[in-house]
Symmetry: C2
Subunit: 237 residues, 2 copies
């Protein structure tokens, strides 16, 4: 479920398969351009009677526009491309996972795999905080992180773990060639079994006093460093 | 007001001047190590009767630990250092401003100035999303953005504006020497008067389909590029 006119519009921008859209009383008028786009895309728009939206929406303040999208296959499989992918292991917070997906799309990454005990990709807060990016970049869900690491490692991507401290400088690692950024749980980071499987562990140098960035911000920084290195190496524009 | 044991702990880490801490029923036991640190720092801890916390806290789910910090002077004035500062003009969302402050501290920036119609630095959501960084990096509030730009520009910092598109590549700009990153409103960006006063406008290249990063994420990316350039230039470790 997609909540809010902005996310619904962003999903349309990315040609997401929307099954149906529900709008609250008066919203068809207030969001006329969006409704016209939905009609143009062949999506049926249902106007809800007063008071219904409040019972359907999941946010505290009900959003005037809700959409239901068909669940695309999120099964883990081969990932095309020669850029970076993100492997999120046990990322628990939906806002963090959504932000990682948004950054991955913006930075031109090849995909995001959520595995282990990571929050479900269909979680409405993941959808919302991805700001539509869920429909613009390959996303997959898998169970066993070791399976994912083995498969992606075998496909020729270097496995680059990220840790709050103790790793090599992230900007001195080669991020221009096929790689997977492995990011861990908000509180515990990456567990020992995952760390052993990595090709390299990197960290972002922090100013002395500061507590580390959260996992979404750190992943954003590393993803854009990868994009920068790829432009510099001439593999991307 | 600081809400939650993590923010209160982070403020203590940074030697924030806490006036008093209020804890809910049972929280003094549940958060005994934090309470011991507070006593050690000479901060008085008041246990609230059942039901009181719910009326005082500002979050939907009341936090078990609240602190009141004396409002430090946030008046605009000279900013020490030779690194980057952030000038936030009309940044409206408290989560964005808090995240910018958190990134500024982590990246070793010299300060953050919130001006124009930016959200108040005392806003509890700014405090919360800064994760204590509000007490670890210089933050100031000012009214007229042009005054801020003129004063900081005259102090020898290059004024580097950020825009979703149309600017020079951010990683090709010189961010190693004294500069101010000027970031604008979430919806409107930087207005014409501000843009005219800039030395240069930069943008982060985006993968084709993607909508731009939000202002907090974009600022994070540019701040860590500045830190990277400074390490490379040998001005920072």
């Amino acid at each position: 479920m997609l909540e809010g006119p902005r996310v619904v519009g962003a999903a349309l921008d990315r040609h997401a398969a929307l099954e149906r859209v529900y709008v609250g009383t008066g919203a068809a008028t207030a969001f006329a351009p969006l409704v016209a786009r939905l009609h143009g895309a062949g999506v049926s728009v249902v106007e809800l009677k007063e008071g219904v939206l409040e019972k359907v929406g999941l946010t505290r303040t009900p959003q005037p526009v809700l959409a239901v999208a068909s669940a695309a296959s999120l099964a883990f499989g081969p990932i095309a491309g020669t850029g970076a992918v993100v492997i999120a292991v046990d990322v628990a917070d939906p806002g963090n996972l959504g932000t990682i997906i948004r950054s991955a799309e913006s930075a031109g990454a090849d995909g995001v795999v959520a595995c282990g005990n990571s929050v479900d990709l269909h979680n409405p807060k993941v959808v919302r905080s991805s700001a539509g990016a869920l429909f613009g970049v390959t996303v997959m869900q898998a169970d066993d992180p070791m399976d994912v690491l083995n498969t992606i490692g075998a496909s020729g991507r270097r496995l680059i773990g990220t840790a709050a401290r103790g790793g090599a400088r992230y900007d001195e690692a080669d991020l221009a060639h096929p790689c997977a950024l492995v990011v861990g749980n908000e509180a515990r980071g990456l567990d020992a079994a995952v760390q052993e499987r990595l090709d390299v562990l990197v960290s972002i140098p922090m100013a002395a006093a500061a507590e580390s960035l959260n996992v979404a911000m750190a992943t954003t920084v590393v993803l854009f460093e990868a994009a920068r290195q790829r432009r510099l190496a001439g593999v991307d524009r």
